[in-house]
């Protein structure tokens, strides 16, 4: 993980090439839209992955932060007439501030309490959006403004969100592989041990939660622009579950795993029609199966298969007593 081998570099290059040329070979506008949607989700999930996958804080309310980012962008760039780039930055900042406000009280709570607090946050945001009709249009919703010139076409927008996603991935990769990431994983695995070796547990949790808030705000802004119209119904609680499933399936403590999870889970219901009808039932089932069978994530399945195919060589070193030496020791008289 620390240094890249040549195979890794080759894969990265191939992946980058695929992502960069996608508007060229994508079949139609819809597939491009789907690719942009994956990138938008990934911006949020990359940040959430730091919270859920690395730090082990099961936040199921990130859809609330996404909602805040979206409405901030729609109100600032649409109603108030700000420049969209400025509104994008403002959405990120607002997401971070709301993350701080949510994290400060709730990150002190143990597992289930924290999950419930974040879930309540998502429900509250939805309630407030519905209540503040003057600002958010209530149940009718708001149009999400487009970005200016080079980014107003579908392919231009795709490049914009891909760049953002790349930046967030780079940030989270840096965060994950250095001392910070180790500290976060230690908090996930044993907070008491982490504290005893000098990790400032609460501060680390809060920092990474604010980071995830910023990414959720940014994702919300581009999400509003991509969807072109947002209503409170867009931000149902089940969306949170979807983000969650992507991370758990990909495997905790990894970045490429949740990325693949995001790509597959976003694309799958669109490509396989019967799954779309089942929708969240399918995600729930997937989460249940993964938690029960491979809690380490789908990647573990490949590890198991690899071990079956190519069993590890176990060096057998029989332990036998050195009888001569034992004899000498027993007869030894000083």
């Amino acid at each position: 993980m620390n240094s890249l081998t040549h195979t890794h570099k080759a894969w990265l290059l191939l992946g980058g090439l695929l992502i960069a040329t996608l508007p060229g070979w994508a079949g139609d506008q819809y597939q491009l839209h789907l690719a942009s949607l994956i990138a938008v989700y990934w911006i949020l999930i990359a940040g959430l992955n730091m919270v859920v996958g690395f730090t082990g804080q099961l936040s199921i309310g990130h859809v609330g932060l996404l909602c805040i980012g979206s409405y901030a962008f729609a109100v600032l760039a649409g109603k108030s007439g700000w420049h969209p780039a400025l509104a994008l930055v403002a959405s990120g900042v607002l997401g971070g501030v709301c993350g701080l406000a949510l994290g400060l009280p709730s990150l002190r709570l143990p597992g289930f309490y924290f999950a419930m607090a974040t879930m309540a946050f998502a429900l509250i945001v939805n309630d407030l959006v519905l209540a503040q009709v003057d600002l958010t249009g209530g149940g009718i919703g708001l149009p999400g403004p487009l970005f200016p010139a080079p980014f107003d076409s579908p392919s231009g927008f795709y490049y914009l969100v891909s760049l953002l996603a790349l930046g967030v991935t780079w940030l989270s990769w840096n965060l994950g592989r250095h001392m910070w990431g180790r500290a976060l994983i230690s908090i996930r695995d044993n907070p008491v041990a982490a504290q005893s070796v000098g990790v400032a547990v609460f501060r680390a949790k809060l920092t990474v939660f604010v980071f995830s808030g910023v990414t959720a705000g940014l994702a919300g802004a581009v999400f509003a622009s991509l969807q072109s119209y947002i209503t409170p119904d867009t931000f149902v609680f089940e969306l949170s579950l979807f983000f969650f499933v992507c991370i758990i399936i990909g495997g905790r403590g990894s970045i490429i795993g949740p990325f693949i999870g995001t790509v597959v889970l976003t694309a799958l219901p669109e490509l396989v029609a019967p799954l779309a009808k089942l929708g969240n039932f399918f995600y729930g089932l997937l989460l249940l199966v993964v938690v029960l069978v491979v809690p380490e994530g789908i990647g573990r399945v490949f590890d198991i298969i690899r071990e079956r195919l190519r069993p590890r060589v176990v060096h057998r070193e029989p332990i036998s007593p050195d009888l001569a030496r034992l004899d000498r020791a027993l007869k030894y008289k000083p």
Partner: protein, 286 residues
């Protein structure tokens, strides 16, 4: 004014009932299941289905609600809890119960429909009776009955004492020859039946609605956390406080801020007294 009070009390008692269900599950497994509210949702939906659609007598509807709740409780334990608890003490049960809760909510939505449907009247009564309406008194009476019944069950019966033993120390109970897996399953069936009963009794208040589960899970949990985890009296007090606060908040400020105020109450209580009003102090984590 009296209507606000009685509405608050009735919804509060429904939350308290959900908190009691949490307590029964928590006593044997130390797990707070996300499916808790969904059990009551199933109770309401199946009760309404048996009475309105199948045209059965309301006692059979009650039976359907209890059986559906108990079956779902057993399913929760077998599917989402047992394997996870055997594997490790991580918080994986949160994920597995969340997954199960989502599945049952979606399944109920697909089968029953996503519109709230009215729950039939159980006792013939005029609609204009105000605060004496059965939709207020049924949940209140049922919850108090449930709390008294649970208290008697814990104090007077052998199985109740086994539950208590498991909640004190599951390992010691196992060493004493108690089949902890079977007792845990029994406690989930019992809590499921109670949840179904509560959902049935409060059906006229909440309607038979598939998305009710998550709200009940959250509000029942708030009632539990405010009252103190593990305490039945605390659950009743917490539920009553939450229900009254909700009702008066929506009377004075409008219904939009109900959730905000409920969570505000939770946060204040957790900051001031983390173990709740009547809960035991948490043991140290090492």
């Amino acid at each position: 004014m009296l209507t606000v009070l009685i509405t608050g009390l009735a919804t509060g008692m429904l939350f308290a009932a959900v908190a009691l269900v949490y307590n029964v599950m928590y006593s044997t497994s130390k797990v707070l299941s996300v499916t808790t509210g969904h059990i009551s949702m199933l109770g309401g939906v199946f009760g309404a289905y048996a009475i309105s659609v199948l045209q059965l007598h309301w006692t059979l509807g009650l039976l359907a609600a209890v059986v559906a709740g108990g079956a779902f409780g057993a399913l929760t334990e077998l599917l989402a809890i047992r394997r996870v608890l055997n594997r490790s003490d991580e918080h994986l049960w949160l994920l597995s119960t969340l997954a199960l809760a989502t599945m049952v909510q979606q399944a109920a939505g697909l089968w029953w429909g996503t519109e709230p449907k009215p729950f039939p009247r159980l006792i013939p009564q005029d609609f204009g009776v105000g605060v004496m309406d059965q939709k207020f008194w049924l949940p209140i009476g049922m919850t108090l009955l449930m709390a008294i019944g649970l208290e008697l069950f814990y104090k007077r019966t052998m199985y109740g004492k086994v539950f208590m033993a498991m909640s004190e120390d599951a390992f010691a109970a196992q060493a004493r020859g108690i089949s902890t897996d079977r007792i845990r399953l029994m406690s989930y069936v019992l809590s499921g039946a109670l949840g179904g009963l509560a959902g049935f009794a409060a059906g006229q208040l909440t309607f038979a609605f598939f998305a009710l589960g998550l709200t009940l899970t959250l509000n029942g949990f708030i009632a539990l956390a405010v009252g103190g985890l593990g305490s039945n009296v605390g659950a009743i007090l917490g539920g009553a406080a939450l229900g009254l606060l909700n009702a008066y908040a929506s009377y004075w400020f409008g219904g939009e801020y109900q959730q905000t105020i409920a969570v505000g109450l939770l946060m204040i209580v957790l900051l001031v007294k983390p173990e709740g009003l009547l809960g035991d102090r948490q043991v140290r984590p090492v």
